[in-house]
């Protein structure tokens, strides 16, 4: 069976700066993968190009073996049309560092907007699904609140419910706890932990929470200068890193913790 996600020689540049440098990556269905690495290494960009928030200059990203950012033409590939991208993009949901809830909509409205508008659900179906998910993230009581009336941790939990309401198969978490006050990190991590343990989502996390990454992931990727330097099972990765840059990075962050 084809991998859930395939990056085939993906290169992303901003002007002269190469952020992703011929990236190759395969992620299996149901796999939970954490990407770690120094700031500015491009790890967030991996998620952003997968979500099609940004284009890529070279290479192809495929989902379930089907080209996503491009389509086959003759022997090669051409950039995919928006309709093709929109069709496959429903497989992916994303949770952002800064939550990005819609501030003019209540918690519930945030969670039904896209299911009604882009999946074509009936409103009552969407509401039922949203309430179920809000219950799961512990936000059922706050469905009539606006984002400005919620704490950061609560907003992020709503954002997770909003992403889940689209029934994605792949979930992307872009530093989901980095913008939170320390006392709210736990509540968000526990929701993500539940998702990783009890559901079959393919998950890709960019995080600075090493302990958490180690606990929930099936695989850790260490990313630096647009490339994966090292990857491995969390147990071996953290206890016995091979590459000198990985050792250096882990020494620094573990010391800080």
């Amino acid at each position: 069976m084809a991998p859930k996600i395939t990056f085939d020689n993906v290169t992303k540049r901003y002007g002269d700066l190469t952020v992703l440098d011929g990236l190759n990556l395969e992620i299996e269905e149901g796999e939970v993968v954490s990407i770690i690495g120094p700031s500015g290494s491009g790890k967030t960009t991996v998620l952003r190009v997968l979500m099609t928030l940004e284009g890529i200059q070279e290479g192809v990203i495929s989902l379930d073996g089907e080209p996503f950012t491009h389509v086959r033409k003759g022997d090669g590939f051409v950039p995919a049309k928006p309709a093709h991208i929109r069709k496959l993009r429903t497989k992916i949901g994303m949770v952002f560092q800064s939550f990005n809830l819609f501030p003019h909509m209540t918690t519930l409205q945030n969670c039904i907007e896209a299911p009604v508008q882009s999946l074509g659900l009936r409103k009552d179906e969407a509401v039922e699904r949203a309430r179920e998910l809000l219950g799961m993230v512990g936000m059922a009581e706050k469905e009539d609140h606006y984002p400005s009336q919620l704490s950061g941790g609560q907003q992020q939990r709503v954002a997770i419910a909003r992403a889940l309401a689209m029934r994605p198969e792949i979930l992307l978490f872009d530093e989901p706890t980095s913008a939170l006050d320390p006392e709210m990190v736990g509540e968000v991590l526990s929701v993500i932990r539940t998702l990783a343990a009890e559901h079959s989502y393919t998950m890709l996390l960019v995080t600075h929470q090493m302990g958490f990454a180690r606990e929930v992931s099936d695989r850790i990727l260490f990313f630096e200068s647009g490339k994966f330097v090292e990857q491995g099972h969390p147990d071996t990765f953290f206890s016995n890193p091979q590459h000198s840059r990985t050792k250096e990075f882990l020494a620094k962050v573990l010391e800080a913790n």
Binding site: L101, P103, S118, S148
Partner: protein, 221 residues
């Protein structure tokens, strides 16, 4: 020169009030045109197709860079040379509306740019269509800065309508001048015209304030 109350009440005021609907029509239609054309102008200027954004950008610069009176004259005197003859009021509405559309497009741009990039990204991540992203996510959030600025343009447009007297549209100022020329008494007519403009400006400003507070409550809670 003495102020003649009887002349004011019997001659000036009735004529002014008769002209008032013309001024209001010119204002309202010009404003609607400015808004309806200004929004797509801004979207076209932001277009990723370079030719479109450059052409629209140049058009906006051209309109902004020439006096409104010149544009009114141009539409009124030059268009008929090309076989397009429009009634004076319509010509005036077109000129004032397009001129302010160019200015309003900048207001829309500022409003759009004020919406955080993360909102566009969340809409993409939720697979909303470009159209739904605009109408349900971006435009509502861009209103709080846009509404007061557009309200300001409404009042500016209102105060620009006397320029239409140059092409003989029977709005307040044109009628005031007419009375002056006819009777050699300008004081009453021009003063009343000024007072009418002041009263209407104040009413318009109050209405804009109400809409502004409504939008802010709706968007920010």
């Amino acid at each position: 020169m003495e102020w003649d109350w009887e002349f004011t009440w019997n001659r000036v005021l009735p004529a002014m009030l008769e002209a008032l609907p013309v001024t209001i029509q010119a204002t309202v239609f010009s404003f609607v045109l400015a808004v309806v054309v200004g929004l797509p102008l801004m979207l076209l200027r932001k277009s990723s197709i370079r030719l479109v954004s450059v052409v629209v950008g140049e058009f906006i610069e051209f309109v902004r860079g020439t006096p409104l009176l010149v544009q009114i004259f141009f539409l009124f005197f030059v268009l008929p040379e090309f076989g397009i003859t429009l009634p004076p009021l319509l010509t005036g509405i077109l000129a004032i509306g397009l001129y302010n559309a160019a200015l309003c497009s900048e207001v829309f741009r500022a409003g759009f740019d004020a919406v955080p990039k993360g909102q566009w990204e969340a809409a993409t991540a939720l697979n909303l269509s470009p159209r739904r992203t605009l109408t349900a996510i971006i435009i509502p959030q861009s209103l709080p800065p846009i509404v007061p600025a557009l309200g300001n343009y409404l009042i500016v447009i209102f105060k620009e309508t006397p320029l239409l007297s140059f092409v003989a549209v029977a709005e307040i100022m044109h009628v005031a001048k007419g009375i002056g020329v006819e009777t050699y008494r300008f004081t009453e007519a021009i003063t009343i015209a000024g007072i009418l403009f002041l009263i209407l400006s104040l009413i318009a400003a109050a209405l804009v304030g109400i809409v502004e507070r409504y939008v802010i409550r709706k968007v920010y809670h």
